[in-house]
């Protein structure tokens, strides 16, 4: 899931300076789960914007905000609303997808933080950096790119103290987690496998995938 957090209210108000009519677009997926763009948050945002002298001329809560064609349909509701700007209560992808469909400013209400796990309601942990070449198969299912603060793929640095990472002692050292997990799985031999350097040529962004492209 894409984990989002609410921006400070003042930051949003600064973006909306001079706007009198505004619309709100939330997201039924990740942002709802993150309590940053669901039904309740949209209602709260509406009240907040009205308290600050704006007229909320429409609210939309699509199933998912990052789907261009779906959003084209959903946003029709705002076409003649008179909105001068939209407050996007989704991840950055959703905000841009709204902007792709509407030629008025779309202002993000959230900061997009990471791709993570929902541990329980309101608790999220960063789990994957979308590196484009997953190594979980040889690391016991623990991601060294994300859970090691230096994204080390060849084993640990010397910086752990009592199993905790030098960068943030609240985090376990990823490589000790990997070691313990491989040990428990009876796969310690995988520790010895050399990982060829993947380089960064393959991750120049923005990337695109087209399943419809004809195979040459």
């Amino acid at each position: 899931m894409i984990i989002t957090q609410k921006k400070p209210a003042e930051e949003l108000l600064a973006m909306l300076e001079g706007v009198t009519k505004v619309a709100i677009v939330g997201c039924g997926q990740c942002a709802s789960a993150c309590q940053t763009g669901g039904e309740k948050e949209i209602a709260e945002m509406k009240t907040f914007l009205e308290e600050h002298g704006m007229e909320v001329v429409g609210t939309v809560l699509p199933d998912e905000c990052c789907h261009k064609l779906l959003m084209k349909r959903e946003l029709k509701a705002l076409k003649d609303s008179g909105a001068e700007a939209i407050v996007g209560m989704s991840c950055g992808d959703g905000v841009q997808t709204v902007a792709d469909n509407m030629l008025i400013p779309v202002y993000p209400a959230n900061n997009t933080m990471f791709l993570g796990q929902v541990e329980r309601v309101g608790m999220f942990n960063e789990y994957c950096h979308m590196c484009g070449d997953c190594v979980l198969g040889s690391t016991g299912g623990v991601c060294p790119i994300t859970k090691c603060a230096k994204s080390l793929v060849n084993g640990p640095c010397g910086g752990q103290k009592n199993g905790k990472c030098e960068v943030n002692p609240e985090n376990d050292c990823a490589w000790i987690l990997i070691y313990k997990r491989l040990e428990a799985l009876g796969q310690l031999d995988k520790l010895g496998q050399t990982r060829p350097d993947k380089g960064y040529a393959g991750v120049a962004y923005p990337r695109h995938i087209n399943l419809r492209e004809k195979k040459s």
Partner: protein, 309 residues
């Protein structure tokens, strides 16, 4: 050929010291220390913004030392430089005759004094060694393009932390470093030779064959030792040493003499060096005096270690 390589390969007890570049442009203190180290050590590691604290670059002090007649070891971390920048620095270093390097992953900027700096880690210690080995084998750069005049020959090293739990994880990384081209290893500061011996036995059992130089940190006081125990990964000064340093401080207070703990620290360092050499535990030592480089010759004298001219 690298002076350190020659010493190690000839079977001479190898000695290296360590120095940090200044936080500024005045290198005179480093050069003064260098004059004292001349003829006493085979080579001098120059740190690459250790603890992620900003200093003049390692390459700069390496060039100064080389021009002053010492053999510098260029420490390279992956923290601040991409593979291109690392290779560029190594080529520049080689043009000054600097042919000995030590590859490290590098402390994270978050623990240093320029916290906003972007952590790079394009390559870790293993990746740096591998890249340089490939360069030497192929005569080509990190993109596979030929280097004019071919690649420099380097004596490449790496570091290891003997006090590490789980030990197999550390030994596995050591094996990867050696496979990637490390021809010598320097350890984190050791204080317990039995512990070191056990570690070295496990390294041998793992079939890893590489000269491992024991890291020696002359302690200045019990306070410094306790601080390192708390804060520096891989450092474990035993209680017995702490007690002796405390006693030295008490004695100094009583007699009104300053510097007794530091003097004891030097003696303990010398004792360890002599024992490491006497028992043939390691083929050499790496002395990290942390600003007190001027004491290194005296420590070596006390240990009875004199390098061949």
């Amino acid at each position: 050929m690298s002076v350190l390589q020659k010493a190690i390969e000839s079977g001479e007890f190898a000695v290296t010291a360590e120095m940090a570049p200044p936080k500024g442009t005045d290198f005179s203190e480093q050069l003064a220390a260098a004059r004292l180290l001349e003829g006493k050590v085979h080579a001098v590691n120059v740190t690459d913004m250790q603890s992620a604290c900003l200093k003049a670059s390692s390459l700069g002090l390496c060039v100064h030392l080389k021009q002053a007649g010492l053999e510098p070891i260029l420490q390279i971390t992956g923290r601040d430089r991409s593979r291109m920048a690392i290779m560029g620095d190594v080529l520049s270093a080689a043009s000054f005759g600097i042919d000995t390097v030590l590859a490290l992953t590098g402390d994270h900027p978050a623990v240093g004094d320029c916290k906003d700096s972007k952590p790079v880690y394009d390559l870790d210690s293993v990746g740096i060694l591998r890249m340089l080995s490939n360069m030497e084998a192929s005569g080509a750069d990190c993109g596979g393009n030929p280097l004019s005049g071919g690649a420099p020959r380097l004596f490449k090293g790496a570091a290891v932390t003997p006090v590490y739990d789980p030990r197999p994880l550390q030994i596995n990384k050591l094996r990867q470093k050696v496979e990637a081209g490390a021809r010598y290893i320097q350890t984190q500061g050791v204080f317990d030779l039995e512990q070191l011996e056990g570690f070295l036995e496990d390294v041998a059992k793992a079939g890893i064959n590489v000269p491992i130089m024991a890291g020696i940190i002359p302690l200045k006081s019990a306070g410094m030792a306790r601080f390192m125990n708390e804060n520096v990964p891989g450092i474990a000064v035993p209680e017995e040493m702490l007690a002796r340093l405390d006693a030295a401080a008490a004695e100094g207070k009583e007699k009104g003499v300053k510097g007794l703990p530091a003097k004891l620290g030097m003696e303990m360092a010398a004792q360890m060096i002599a024992e490491i050499r006497g028992k043939k535990l390691c083929p050499g030592v790496h002395i990290m005096a942390i600003g007190a480089e001027k004491n290194v010759p005296a420590i070596l004298d006390m240990a009875g270690v004199h390098i061949l001219p």
